[in-house]
């Protein structure tokens, strides 16, 4: 089994806020991330697929194809957007756009498209919010 990873970057703004809580509690738990005017990051998305190299091409998947899937399914939706206001899964009443939830949401956007190629399975999605902070999802329940 070979694990192949492709990296891409996107820039987006967000804030953390739980509607069910008071303003004080939001500020206590989320700190500076609770500023309702939002703030932004340069995110790095790492997508890892697992499979066996094709006997003819030597590829697990064609990296150009994977780049296209990442661009269509994730970057075109997240890049240069305000996640809380413009991205369906993070709009009011939805998920808080923490790095963990972005990794899970990106996985859900990618899984069917990556797996339908047949040659490899989505194995891991890692999202870096900064070079020092990241989250990953491996499709576990």
């Amino acid at each position: 089994m070979i694990f192949l990873t492709r990296r891409a970057t996107f820039s987006a703004s967000h804030y953390y806020w739980n509607e069910a809580w008071s303003a004080e509690k939001n500020e206590q738990v989320f700190g500076r991330c609770a500023n309702l005017n939002g703030h932004g990051h340069n995110y790095t998305l790492e997508v890892t697929v697992a499979g066996e190299p094709d006997p003819v091409t030597g590829f697990v998947v064609d990296l150009k194809w994977l780049k296209g899937v990442m661009e269509r399914e994730v970057l075109s939706v997240y890049d240069h957007r305000h996640l809380n206001l413009e991205v369906e899964e993070f709009k009011a009443g939805g998920l808080i756009p923490t790095t963990e939830n972005i990794a899970i949401a990106a996985w859900k956007r990618l899984e069917a498209k990556v797996n339908e190629a047949g040659s490899a399975k989505l194995s891991r999605v890692r999202v870096y919010e900064t070079p020092e902070i990241f989250a990953e999802f491996r499709g576990e329940a």
């Binding site: 902070i133 990953e136 999802f137």
Partner: protein
């Protein structure tokens, strides 16, 4: 739903690779430049990965403020700008980065509680790193 949260830290420390179980010549052969009697230092990169269910209310596996506090107390306060050979953890084992990684995993595992710590990666330089997980 289980996800993982990772955080990177850096610390600077010195060490010398040397064991009393070998002769001076054998130490020099085994450890090369790392056996220099006066030691040498590194900027270590420490990656800590915790796993767990994403809390429905916060969207988090673990609040980074809490993780930072544990790492600061258990790791940075103890090892940053220190000589690893003089630490209690290395009285009886050589402070290779393999052993350092195991020490950090064990300290953090105990401080974070059962089941949370997925792995610790220690980067000694940009070109070599070591990982320790629960296995």
């Amino acid at each position: 739903m289980k996800a993982y949260f990772g955080r990177r830290y850096t610390l600077s420390a010195s060490h010398r690779l040397h064991t009393d179980a070998l002769t001076d010549e054998e130490n020099a052969a085994a450890y090369g430049k790392c056996n220099n009697p006066h030691g040498h230092g590194h900027n270590y990169g420490i990656e800590v990965l915790v796993g767990g269910a994403v809390d429905r209310e916060t969207g988090m596996v673990m609040n980074l403020v809490d993780l930072d506090q544990v790492v600061r107390q258990q790791v940075l306060a103890r090892f940053d700008h220190r000589n690893l050979n003089l630490d209690a953890a290395f009285q009886g084992q050589v402070p290779t980065t393999e052993n350092f990684c195991r020490v950090l995993f064990s300290l953090l595992k105990n401080a974070l509680g059962a089941g949370e710590l997925e792995h610790v990666r220690v980067e000694e330089t940009e070109n070599n790193f070591f990982e320790c997980s629960a296995e």
